[in-house]
Symmetry: C2
Subunit: 225 residues, 2 copies
DNA sequence: GTTCAATTGTAAATTAGCTGACATTTTGCT
DNA sequence: AGCAAAATGTCAGCTAATTTACAATTGAAC
């Protein structure tokens, strides 16, 4: 029954829908499970054998540390997202780790080499996977060109719109987002200083565009952003 | 013999090294050839059937036009690079075109659907291709995080180093680059204003770091950048 | 050779946003 | 409850780089 559970955990991701039961089982044999709670740090890049991870529950942020010890948020991973060495290529110089943002997370993982084997035997999956990586690339390109050509305000608005679309609960024109990020996190994501982010958020609050607190963000009218 | 030629054209790219003659021939049947000269604009995103392109000779820039009609340089493609819908996914809302930078270019292309068929029959190629797309993604990530966290000067230095490494002719510590870009192009690539780029380049010239003209750039000592 | 457009050079004014430096509030913890 | 740590609020410089504005140079076309 444990096997069964794992099966469904993987099956859930749209990438694996096309796989037969036995194929998933093959991956499952080496599938690892992990639970973690808020604030915990999960190392995944170096040391261990290269793995691909699937976040089953909760939210995490991928943080990179540069030579000066500065932390930068690379990515926010949500329930259902894959992360890790998606390029099937290991690079060890990469100092990245994941930090748990929600109360707790469930992560399932498998070895990159096993996945590669599976892709070899499953060309359709290989194509789906390529498209998946491509989509990811397109998203990254998009958000980066936002970062570069737009000012901080526009970037914040765009970020909030994206966030609302991905995770918000809609209620007419109003959208409610469960807020698991600090203002500092938000600032890092939109690449600005914490102070600027605070200012902009307060400005939006006085303009009745949204109401902000540490639990949730309510956007009064998403069409006005 | 025309067939033969095309074979070698494709064969040249390291992605296709693992393919058999017949497999390449299969692609070649639908391979298109194109020649174009300086300043010419090549549309490749919309209208036509989705294709993947391989630049065999010369240099082009990929330019995107936003809603306000502003042009941004998305990418510089060099001899041997693939471009087009590398993600195997068409998106039509994308307003992109290529502009020829060198005196003339040779481009060879094939249909995305044919390539997809080939990938299906060739899992090894599929994996290579996935890794290739992944590598591209990693490069993009890298250059973007440069754009975001570094100042204009550092960005210019990094760009020149990259350019020199890719295309420069080394002579001891000195490197000569054939300059097919205007200062405005360079400015756009490193995401700054034309004036700032000009200033920085002149500053480098007075500091004897390089000599610049419209034909070539000579970096006196690449290790000093 | 002359003309015109593109490219390059230079400088002052303006500005978005960062830094640093605090005060205040909230949260988790024992 | 009471404390420390984390998160938020606010403000005054400061700075890199954009904008605006124009001059000078180069190159290609006729």
């Amino acid at each position: 029954m444990y096997e069964e559970l794992k099966y469904w955990y993987l099956r859930d991701h749209k990438l694996f829908r096309t796989l037969s039961f036995s194929q998933i089982k093959q991956l499952c044999i080496i599938t690892g499970f992990k639970k973690a709670s808020k604030g915990e740090i999960i190392y995944f890049s170096s040391s261990d054998v290269p793995r691909i991870f699937l976040l089953k529950k909760g939210n995490i942020k991928i943080v990179a540390v540069d030579d000066n010890g500065n932390e930068t948020i690379k990515d926010i991973i949500q329930k259902g997202d894959l992360f890790g060495e998606l390029t099937l290529e290991t690079d060890n110089k990469n100092e990245e780790y994941a930090k748990v943002l929600s109360d707790d997370v469930a992560i399932c993982s498998f070895l990159m080499s096993d996945f590669e084997d599976l892709l070899l035997r499953n060309p359709t999956l290989a194509i789906s996977y390529t498209k998946f990586v491509g989509l990811k690339m397109k998203r990254i390109k998009n958000s980066y060109s936002n970062l570069i050509s737009k000012d901080a305000k526009t970037r914040l608005y765009q970020f909030l719109k994206d966030w609302a679309e991905k995770e918000g609960t809609v209620n007419g024109n109003s959208v409610t987002i469960e807020n698991y990020l600090t203002q500092n996190d938000i600032a890092q994501i939109i690449c600005t200083s914490r102070q600027t982010a605070t200012q902009l958020l307060n400005e939006m609050e006085t303009n009745h565009l949204l109401s902000y607190n540490r639990k949730e963000i309510v956007i009064q009218d998403i069409t006005k952003l």
